[in-house]
Amino acid sequence: MSALLTQLLPGGGPVRQDAAPGKADPWDSGMWPLHRADWLGDPADWRNDAAVVVLGPEAAEDAMHVPFTLDATGVGAVERIVVTIDYSPIPQVLTFWPGRARPLLGFGVKYESGSPLRASVQRAGGGWRMGARYVSAMGGGCTAPAAAHGQPDWQEGFGEMRARLWPDTGRLRVWLRHPQDTGLAPGIAAHHLTEMVLEDDAGQIARLELHAPVEENPALTFLLPEDVSGPVTIRARDTMGYRFVGEVAA
């Protein structure tokens, strides 16, 4: 059963992955064979699988904040999930080790041009299963453009962490004020989160390796295991050595 919550809104039904399952790349992308070799090690056991659901928009309304949710809870035991964007100057987005958490993740990314975002899921046995979604980067028009971004006031509120835990559904959402600079803009050094870890009394729950394409002021959603009852500690760090800590209880 899907761990997604779309059915909690009136009219919201179950969601399925729409790309055809199998060994072929549904987008026949020139970049994918390279990325598969670089980040997955060119595995023999790999295929596109409808069990990996990737939710995202059809078009990037705000190219600085393109929201995704991936749900691999239908895959079985999961070792890690590697998220990449084919046609991004920095294709590597994040790697998620669910650990004791369930393999579901919500996050936002920056988008440069129309491209699939891929979630490659390594099963505990070693084989890889992929889900993906193509996002057009044309935008929707009346978008307020990027005037709000790139302003040198990122220090204001820097490191503020917001969160909430929903015991009924096991959801945990974390928001962290951080510029997530890619280093690609002239005169602005790369400054982005590199890691986020969830912990409780029993030790590490899950770990996330983050890269520059993750959105500014990132918001992340996790699905906690049922054995978590006490407070959860969220730790993060970035390329400049800053560390961020927060604790959230039900």
Binding site: L9, G12, P67, M138, T143, A144, R164, G246
Partner: protein
């Protein structure tokens, strides 16, 4: 004044390629395409060029917002000018041919589907509320980039010409026509609504939508609802929303209010229940409004545009490093 100026009538007129040929536009582009507007006189001296009930796309060439022309003894008062230079030129051609030229232009707010045709009207004052002019100037280039990528060749020759002159709100005579200019807000930081005294027609800009999903990129829900209260206190003889047909009922007011309340509640509920924005998007619009024009894409856009408002309320600060 024409002999029939005292009776309300409806008329249709095709404004096509012939009208634009005299204007200084890149003729190769003009010759290739035309909007072929139909203008309808919905009240005495009140002409409506109705936009498509859709999102901006290459099928409609960006002609999605309503343009209204008010007849005066000195030419037309043009209210909103469309998304492209070509669209502005065709509106201008109609004003020149049927209404004796242009006396003044009003831009109701800063969204580009309402003022990117301004270049065709630069020989007379282009008026707006102050914040509208500022926001148009600030965002013009970004809007231009977005519109070129969406509309492609329809945008040929289009450069942003932001409104220059601030309007004085209130009851006044503009080019001899008695109007009440109402400075409101909520759809954007400044939304101008216009009540035409002679006919009692309300030209509401994007504070009102009918049968087309409202756009929320700059929306402030509470302020918008307060503006709807102000509009609800009027007794117009007819209403022209920013998007949607002329009508003589309170339909746009009721529908816009219901849409905002239901969408506001849906996004708050989604954030309060711990949904991700991608899940809120995938669940689709409020079912009662799923049949509106530009759905579901307008709802999808709204989730991205407004999500942070709701999430900030749903989450608690746990660290302020």
């Amino acid at each position: 004044m024409t002999p029939d100026s005292n009776i309300r009538r409806r008329a249709l007129l095709k404004v096509g390629i012939a009208g634009t040929a005299s204007l200084a536009l890149p003729l190769a582009a003009v010759a290739a395409r035309s909007y072929g507007f139909e203008a309808a006189e919905v009240a005495d001296g009140v002409w409506l060029i109705a936009g498509a009930q859709d999102s901006l796309n290459r099928d409609n060439g960006g002609a999605i917002a309503n343009t209204v022309l008010l007849r005066t003894g000195q030419g037309a008062i043009v209210i909103d000018t469309g998304s492209t230079a070509l669209m502005g030129a065709e509106i201008r051609a109609f004003a020149d041919q049927r209404l004796g030229g242009v006396a003044a232009t009003l831009n109701t707010h800063h969204h580009p589907d309402h003022w990117f045709g301004n270049a065709a009207f630069a020989d007379a004052p282009i008026l707006s509320l102050g914040p509208t002019a500022q926001a148009a100037a600030l965002n013009g280039q970004g809007y231009s980039d977005a519109l070129y990528s969406i509309l492609g060749p329809w945008m040929s020759g289009t450069t942003p010409v932001p409104p220059q002159s601030p309007v004085q709100p209130g009851a006044q005579s503009l080019a001899g026509r008695a109007l009440t200019l109402m400075p409101l807000a909520g759809h954007t930081e400044a939304d101008l609504a216009i009540l035409d005294a002679d006919t009692g027609t309300l030209i509401a800009g994007d504070l009102l939508f009918l049968d087309r999903a409202p756009t929320l990129p700059d929306a402030d829900m509470a302020t918008w609802r307060a503006s709807l209260d102000s509009l609800g206190a009027l007794q117009p003889s007819g209403t022209i929303p920013g998007h949607g047909p002329f009508h003589r009922s309170s339909a746009a007011l009721a529908q816009t209010r219901a849409y905002l309340e239901a969408t506001d509640a849906r996004l708050m509920r989604a954030a309060e229940l711990g949904l991700t924005p991608a899940e809120a998007m995938a669940a689709g619009p409020v079912p009662d409004f799923a049949g509106l024009g530009a759905m579901p894409e307008e709802y999808h856009r709204s989730v991205v545009q407004r999500w942070a408002d709701y999430e900030q309320r749903a989450l608690t600060t746990i660290s302020d490093a």
